[in-house]
Amino acid sequence: MKFTLSWLKDHLKTKATVDEIATRLSAIGLEVESVDNPADKLGAFRIARIVEAGKHPNADKLQVIQVEVEKGAPLLEVVCGAPNARAGLVGVFAPLGTYIPGSKITLEKKPVRGVVSNGMMCSAAELELSAEAAGIIELPADMASHVGEAYVAVMGLADPVFEVKLTPNRPDCTGVRGIARDLAAAGLGTLKPEKAIAGVEGAEPCPVEIKLEFSKETKSACPVFAARCIKGVANGPSPAWLQTRLKAVGLRPINALVDVTNYISQDRGRPLHVYDADKLKGAVRARLGKAGEKFVGLDGKEHTVDDTMCVIADDNGPLGLGGVIGGEASGSTDATTNVLIESALFDPARIAQTGRKTGLVTDARYRFERGVDPASVLPGLDLATQMILKICGGKPSKATVAGAVPDGRHAITFDTGLVAKLAGLDLPAGEIRGILESLGCDILGKGDVITVTTPSWRPDLHGAADLVEEVVRIAGLDRVPATPLPRPAGVARAVLTERQKRARRARRTLAARGLVEAITWSFIPANEASAFGGSGLELANPISVDMSSMRPGLLPGLLTALKRNRNRGFADAALFELGQAYRGEKPDDQYTSAAGVRAGTAGLGGSGRHWDGAAQEVDLFEAKADVLAVLTSLGFDHSKAQITRDAPAWYHPGRSGTLRLGPKTILAHFGEMHPATLKALDVPGPVAAFEVFLDALPAQKAKSRAKPRLEAADLLPVRRDFAFVLDRGVAAGDVVRAAAGADKALIREVSVFDVFEGGALAEEGKKSLAIEVTLQPTAETLTDKDIEAVVQKVAAAVKSATGGEIRS
């Protein structure tokens, strides 16, 4: 919504400065997006008169003119290429040094084909006033009396333009008068009274019949349609003052009839439409559209309507979309002599829907979808009639009204104490009443509880809370005292849930392992989603094909990030993300994953070459270590989980694993990425990756804060090494588990310290695995015999579980 200071002052008597007005507007909810004063960029341009015009000695298309730029001062010699430059022309002059906004140059003193030009006579395009660039501006001859004065001041262009970003609840402020009313209420002046309108009602009935053709269910589409005919108008360009106003707020003058409707729309928030009455056939009716109906709009484009849209039609079919756009065929032209003025009311919801379906963004829609003041139907019609009669002449008919004007007002019972209760602002009852009255409310009752009747132009005021908002915004939000929110007694308590704590801890555990946290998009390309199991969730309106599918996991986004980093020269990257992914559309289908990728040599110990030993290429054990570190950090004893070899297809089938609790609960996958997956995503290998499913971890049992007593035996532990020859397929985990289970009382720890799969053993399909078993005596020192007994048990247990023999 745009308006100028002078336009505002038509309605508001104020001495406030532009800054004061802008600040207050923003404070009361009418956010000022910009204040632009054309005088700021056009201040240097002067009114000037061409005294003599002669041929340029060296160029056929140029003239050398003598210009009077200041009364009584010597004439300036100027080179001019405009065909309309001639002696006696009064126009606009730019002195040397002036910045010309339309051509984005600053005038310098330099010869033009050998003749020095001491300035420039300007076209409207050079001043960015219009697109007119063919010739220089021609002012009326009597403007010669203003020679030397600032052009913008003389023409009334030195008028700051405010642009306000209106919230959808304020239809009243789609008109300058509504804005003036708010400013007056907020103490920035007084609202000028409406001028009475007289002499607009003719004697003859309106020659065009108006009908509302709706069912009971759909009549809300257009509850009232008023019209008046004016015969014998002289249409044509509107007066300069009207054109200046419209141009200042960015509207293009069309002709007097249209300009009047646009003016009233901008001035009062009351959209109107004018028809060339001679182009109408039969009655004009508001009705719902019919499938297949079309019309060409004022935008010159063909529009198809449907049965949810309210059209205005005559016997020949739709003329336009009511409250959105008029039709070209029935519109007014300079030749129009008989005009029908429409002032109607349309259902905001239907207008919004029609606007969205058609994509039409018009000034009428902007107002009707917010809710135009129903009480403005007849005054708007009368105001338009008055202006048209004044500008175009003609003879008005009586107004005709189909339907009835709905009462937009309603009564709200308002306990003024609610202002203090909801807003925390203690105001005297008188101030509360005063604010509401200044906004147009009528008040009944005297005590704390009053009955407030809202004005018809404020459909957004429904209940008491709305009135509190009005009072507080006008009184000033800065008057609401900041009040401490009562604190829970004592020291602040912990608030995070177990899931939240897990996420926080997992994140910092991974970062502590050298991984860098990334946040990648929740939506990814469809082919990547399907390569990682798919989520079945495609957006209906993705912003691009690369962001079309909800991610089934976090790895695609991380792998894509690896690729981009590789392309920037950073191949050894270790990234992780902790976030949501989707198995389906239900809230429970969303899960939290902590996933990471290590590429190249970006292992735990650092990447790249180093004098103390180059980092090795990452492998599945890097990923496994990350997984177990997260689980351990979250207090989960991973020895309770099983490791199986059935990680999903995007992992290397032989070099990946799944950590699970029983057949159903999967805690994590880890491993090297499948070479085919990497190739499909164009990511260089090797890449070790993991996914930990934080929601799958069993809830921690409530436990005592006290740690269990330290069991530190005084007796020295005893260590024994074993080397087993095993079939190559035997899992080390099985060996360790068997050994550990051989004597649970004595064996404290089993570690694997060597794996050898080469040489002669390999040819036999065997491998060697060496373990260290730590025995912890508790009661008394172990004798050689005790130790030998445990050694035998370990060998027997491993043999029984895996077939492994002690290597001789």
Binding site: A27, G29, P168, P348, A349, A352, E369, A420, K421, L422, A423, G424, L425, V468, E469, V472, R473, L477, P481, A482, T483, P484, L485, A492, V495, L496, A511, A512, R513, G514, V516, E517, A518, I519, T520, S522, F523, A540, N541, P542, I543, A561, R564, N565, R568, F570, A573, A574, L575, L578, Q580, E585, K586, P587, Q590, L604, G605, G606, H610, D612
Partner: protein, 360 residues
């Protein structure tokens, strides 16, 4: 049996032994001397063995003399050994000299980073937890009802157009799911699930069909909600002022509250902060929208607006991260660019606390 030594013999012996000790050139030589003197068959041990053959009256004084000799020789041995030890160590240390300018790896903790959004998330949680706010969460894929209708945004409300919503395909029953356009549905979920008093924040991802330098189709918001029987706008102002001071870690933040309109709050405000807080005086920066929860929203959640009231606010987590830490391009947040993440990311040990300062 050898003859019994005299006092003069002892003196000569002492001179000889001390000279031998002094002459031992390394640790092996001194050990040989020790064995030759104090060993089982050493010179002094031999002397001690002659004691038994002495008359009782001589035995005592001779024994004393030999013991004194032994003590002096032992002392000399130890001193010489200590000196040789020192020499050997000095020599070793000279040979063990390393190039201390060689670079080292700092280890994983120095390499890892926490994303600025996660860091700021933790900072916000820390501040609001102190004021008694719990953290609530909700799904990204929402229903039209929870994202709009229950928040007092009916289907034809113009505010829906401002949301640039991502939708999923229309289902057979005509409904369609969407990606939440704000964290406000978590308000609804919370009010439907628990009775007041309620104090929550709800941080999370939100989605809008919009992309340029300052808009990305996915970003983060943090929602706040307080519902009880007495909380009013003055409390809201206080909470926001306290939050801003704590978050920006300054003693004063200039704040400007402007009336505004959101369908789910009434009255509604937009809040600007004076950019002094981030070292850019003279500007106002819009940081959040807020207001008193609209009676219709309370009613939609089964709460009686005559009894319950409270406030809600929502702000951009990415935006306040940008303001606080001087980040300029929102798109970089989600690019996974290692250079950016290493530069703007946080150390794992930068755990925000109120006692130690949020940013350490």
């Amino acid at each position: 049996m050898t003859s019994v030594a005299t006092g003069a013999d002892l003196q000569a012996l002492e001179g000889e032994l001390l000279a031998g000790i002094a002459g031992a050139g390394d640790l092996a030589a001194i050990e040989q001397v020790r064995i030759a003197v104090l060993g089982k068959k050493g010179r002094i041990s031999e002397l001690m063995q002659t004691l038994g053959s002495l008359p009782a009256e001589e035995r005592k004084s001779f024994g004393q003399s030999v013991n004194e000799l032994k003590a002096r020789v032992s002392e000399a041995l130890e001193a010489r050994k200590g000196a040789l030890d020192g020499e050997a160590l000095s020599l070793r240390l000279v040979n063990e000299r390393a190039d201390v300018t060689l670079p080292v790896r700092l280890g994983a903790i120095a390499d890892g980073r926490i994303h600025p959004v996660s860091q700021v998330y933790d900072e916000c949680v820390e501040i609001f937890a102190d004021m008694g706010f719990a953290v609530a969460e909700g799904p990204d894929i929402e229903t039209d009802d929870l994202n709009f209708t229950k928040l007092n945004i009916p289907p034809e409300h113009p505010a829906r157009q401002e949301h640039d919503t991502f939708y999923f395909p229309v289902k057979e029953d005509g409904s369609r799911l969407l990606l939440r356009t704000h964290t406000s549905p978590v308000q609804i979920r919370t009010m439907l699930a628990q009775k007041p008093p309620i104090r929550i924040i709800a941080p999370g991802r939100v989605y809008r069909c919009d992309s340029d330098q300052t808009h990305t189709p996915m970003f983060h918001q943090i929602e706040g909600l307080v519902i009880d029987e007495t909380t009013h706008m003055g409390h809201l102002k206080w909470v926001l002022e306290e939050f801003c001071k704590a978050f920006f870690e300054v003693d004063e933040v200039k704040m400007r509250f402007r009336a505004s309109h959101f369908p789910f709050t009434e009255p509604s405000m937009e809040v600007d902060i004076g950019a002094e807080a981030i070292g850019k005086p003279g500007q106002w920066l819009e940081i959040l929208g807020c207001g008193m929860v609209h009676p219709n929203v309370l009613r939609n959640c089964g709460l009686d607006p005559e009894k319950y009231q409270g406030f809600a606010f929502g702000m951009g987590l990415d935006r306040i991260a940008m303001l606080k830490y001087g980040l300029t391009d929102l798109r970089a947040f989600f690019s996974g660019d290692l250079r950016w993440l290493r530069h703007y990311g946080f150390s794992v040990l930068d755990v925000p606390t109120l006692s130690g300062g949020l940013s350490g």
